[in-house]
């Protein structure tokens, strides 16, 4: 029986890894659809190579930093260059667990790159992919999931509203601040322009791929299939996403007079990000509420960043940042005594403010760490690499051509002269 459970758990973890890695496909669609045609190939392609890079870094040091032994305040110091060795007394394949965790590290990095969109140099992606995967993500992940000090405080973050989403979003924030807005985003009189994404269908498809992938993200985070608890986690995940989409539709309709498609899509994602921390700790009605609040929050967060003149092309700061914070705090409110396997029950379940306090401290420290370290790294890169951003000319012609000498959509850009040359 134990062997069967070992196998089943391992299958479940690999399936989870598979779904989470597939979320990279969701991000490709989401990001490419939300940005302009001239950058489409670049945005799609860079996701593949940065995930490749993140995989190798995670294997070399990331995994050891997070889960290794002999740890100091920041990181663990064993299990580098992970060999696939099975850890003793664990009810699933350690290699499967490794893959599952690797997939998460990759997602956090991709979220961070949301803040780079349409203006960063390819070399900036390359260097930051390594630095983020070595110095930023593993530290927060170690603190909360690797037995670090926040884990000892009983910080609840079931599948990573803080660890994965907020960490990524904080790096994205550092990047947007240093990169400055895209050309044409803000007018001299302080108003902002909408830079429309080139394919709303891609963006919507991206959301659906992410939505389904999230069942692996949250459901897989049970690690084991024993009592079928993952089904409950997936259920909470789904209804929070639904509530987020509906809330976003309602709020945009009421405030703008029109239901805004990007807002609806952001609402679904915000619901997913928010429920990520709490999906295993709260009852279903609370999941609906958490998703609903996230849908409204993301709408106002987007408006706020716009007002602050922070150019966030794919809304990473609002979807993963604002909703990530809310999701982390939400367990401090709604975690039930029966479900709180980690930490204590929330404020509304007789737990008082103690869990909410732990959540607030955890989210603040993690966000600060991720922001400050990312900012310092990017600032140093900016100095050493003589700028993170492509030239104005390159930005205007688009990164497909300027960074790759290629077109995402050749038909739309190839000039008549080139067409003739190709025809002959």
């Amino acid at each position: 029986m134990e062997e069967i459970m070992f196998s089943l758990n391992s299958v479940w973890l690999v399936l989870g890894a598979l779904l989470v890695i597939l979320m990279q496909g969701g991000f490709i669609l989401l990001e490419a659809g939300s940005t302009r045609m001239k950058n489409a190939g670049h945005i799609a392609g860079k996701t593949v190579f940065t995930f490749g890079l993140a995989s190798i870094v995670f294997w070399a040091v990331g995994y050891g930093f997070i889960f290794g032994g002999n740890s100091n305040f920041f990181i663990g110091l064993t299990d580098f260059f992970y060999s696939g060795e099975q850890a003793e007394g664990i009810p699933y394949s350690t290699a499967a667990f490794f893959m599952f965790q690797l997939a998460f590290a990759g997602i956090s990095l991709t979220i961070a790159f949301g803040g780079f969109a349409e203006r960063a140099k390819l070399s900036a992606y390359l260097v930051f992919a390594i630095l983020f995967s070595v110095l930023v993500y593993p530290v927060v992940a170690h603190w909360i999931w690797g037995g670090g000090w926040l884990a000892e405080h009983g910080k609840q973050d079931f599948a990573g509203s803080t660890v994965v989403h907020l960490t990524g979003a904080m790096a994205a924030l550092a990047a947007t601040v240093l990169l400055k807005p895209r050309i044409g985003k803000f007018n001299k009189n302080g108003t902002s322009n909408t830079i429309f994404g080139h394919n709303q269908v891609y963006t919507a498809l991206g959301v659906i791929v992410l939505w389904v992938g999230w069942f692996g993200f949250n459901g897989g985070s049970t690690f084991v299939v024993d009592d079928g608890f993952f089904g409950f986690v997936v259920l909470n995940t789904n209804i929070a996403a639904g509530a987020g989409a509906v809330a976003a539709l309602i709020i945009s309709w009421m405030v703008l007079g029109k239901s805004d498609i990007p807002t609806i899509l952001n609402g679904a994602l915000a619901g997913l990000v928010a429920i990520t921390a709490s999906c295993a700790f709260v009852e279903t009605w609370a999941a609906v509420l958490i998703g609903f609040v996230a849908g409204i929050l993301v709408f106002y967060s987007v408006k706020l960043f716009d007002k602050l003149k922070v150019d966030d092309p794919i809304y990473a700061l609002s979807v993963h940042g604002a909703a990530g914070i809310w999701g982390t705090l939400s367990t401090g409110l709604f975690a039930t005594p029966e479900l709180a396997a980690v930490g204590k029950p929330g404020l509304f379940y007789g737990g008082g403010f103690s869990q909410l306090g732990v959540q607030a401290m955890g989210v603040t420290v993690s966000a600060l760490y991720a922001f400050v370290v990312s900012f310092v790294l990017l600032y140093a890169m900016k100095k050493v690499m003589k700028g993170l951003r492509v030239s104005e000319e390159e930005e205007i012609i688009g990164l497909d051509v300027s960074e790759h000498g290629n077109y995402g959509y050749p038909e739309a850009f190839v000039t008549n002269k080139e067409k003739n040359r190709l025809a002959n």
Partner: protein
């Protein structure tokens, strides 16, 4: 007078003519007539005098005598004789007119509603045929054209041509009253400017952020719905205000439309008052920046916008036959 000297004269005189919407429109008429004379002189020198009687009609806001200080051109020609010579002569003349107006400061019409386009430059006979075709066709485009034509006003030449052609529309309307429903649907979409919480729905992005689109959200509901009611009652008046006045002579409209005159006058007033702070860009003139308004003015504008919606609902009920049967 050359186009350039007309433009100079217009620019120097402008400030004396912007006290009221009526002032503005009288002045527009004078300028356009001067352009017409200059164009005709130039064309006569090259191609001889006009081969027959004609009338030059202006449409859109010019037709309704409701032009903003900056306005694009909408016009057409109706001539007496149906033959190739006249056709060629007037189409070429139409091109000269459009060119002249553009030179003087009336940008070309995006929708190509200009005498230089054969659709809007025809003999009386061909015009009648075209109107009948538009009426029967009931396509989105033909209905658009019909509604544009319905605001035509003769600015130069034979007065009777315009009314004669509109009679075709009125006759059709009497025979097929349901046609009005189709017309209503064509202009039913209004850009909302007041939201769920009774808040202004301003532009959120772009150079007009913080402004409402006074043309689409303010003028359109009044202009379009009053036009439809005028069509229903076969009223020949053209300006929105005079159409309302004519409608008010009919007892069944007195209660429902009595407030309309004041609201529309206010709308004209606001556009005039606030255009001065804007650049002379045709697009800018339609936007009203909410922050520039006083508290009372905001309240008044909101009232106008909400009443536009009310007028639309009322017109719908009249046209769909649930009222005044």
């Amino acid at each position: 007078m050359s186009y350039l000297s007309i433009k100079r004269w217009r620019d120097s005189e402008w400030s004396n003519h912007e006290h009221s919407s009526r002032d503005v429109n009288v002045f527009h008429d004078t300028i356009m007539k001067k352009v017409f004379d200059a164009a005709l002189k130039k064309h006569t020198e090259a191609f001889g005098p006009p081969p027959c009687l004609y009338s030059w009609i202006v449409m859109g806001s010019a037709g309704r005598f409701e032009q903003a200080p900056v306005s694009d051109q909408d016009h057409g020609l109706i001539y007496e004789k149906e033959n190739d010579e006249a056709g060629h002569y007037f189409l070429e003349f139409g091109k000269e007119l459009a060119y002249g107006l553009n030179e003087v400061g009336y940008p070309y019409c995006d929708g190509n509603v200009m005498s230089s386009n054969s659709v809007w430059c025809k003999s009386q006979m061909k015009w009648s045929e075209q109107l009948s075709k538009w009426l029967k066709e009931e396509s989105f485009e033909s209905i658009r054209f019909l509604l544009i034509f319905y605001d035509a006003r003769v600015l130069v030449g034979e007065e009777k041509y315009g009314d004669k052609l509109k009679q075709i529309v009125h006759d059709y309307m009497k025979e097929y009253p349901h046609f009005l429903e189709r017309l209503f649907e064509n202009t039913e979409h209004i850009k909302k400017a007041v939201g769920f919480f009774h808040q202004f729905l301003t532009e959120t992005h772009g150079s007009h952020a913080g402004s409402i689109d006074l043309k689409q959200s303010g003028f359109f509901p009044y202009v379009n719905n009053v036009r439809l009611l005028a069509m229903k009652e076969c009223i020949n008046a053209i300006s929105t205000l005079s159409r309302i006045e004519e409608l008010l002579k009919l007892p069944r409209y007195q209660q429902e439309l009595s407030w309309c005159v004041k609201e529309f006058e206010n709308l004209l007033h606001y556009r005039l008052k606030y255009h001065k702070t804007m650049t002379e860009n045709y697009d800018d003139i339609h936007y009203l920046h909410i922050k520039e308004l006083s508290k009372d003015e905001r309240k008044e504008i909101k009232h106008i916008l909400l009443n536009g919606q009310k007028l639309q609902d009322y017109t719908r009920s009249v046209i769909k036959g649930t009222m005044h049967k």
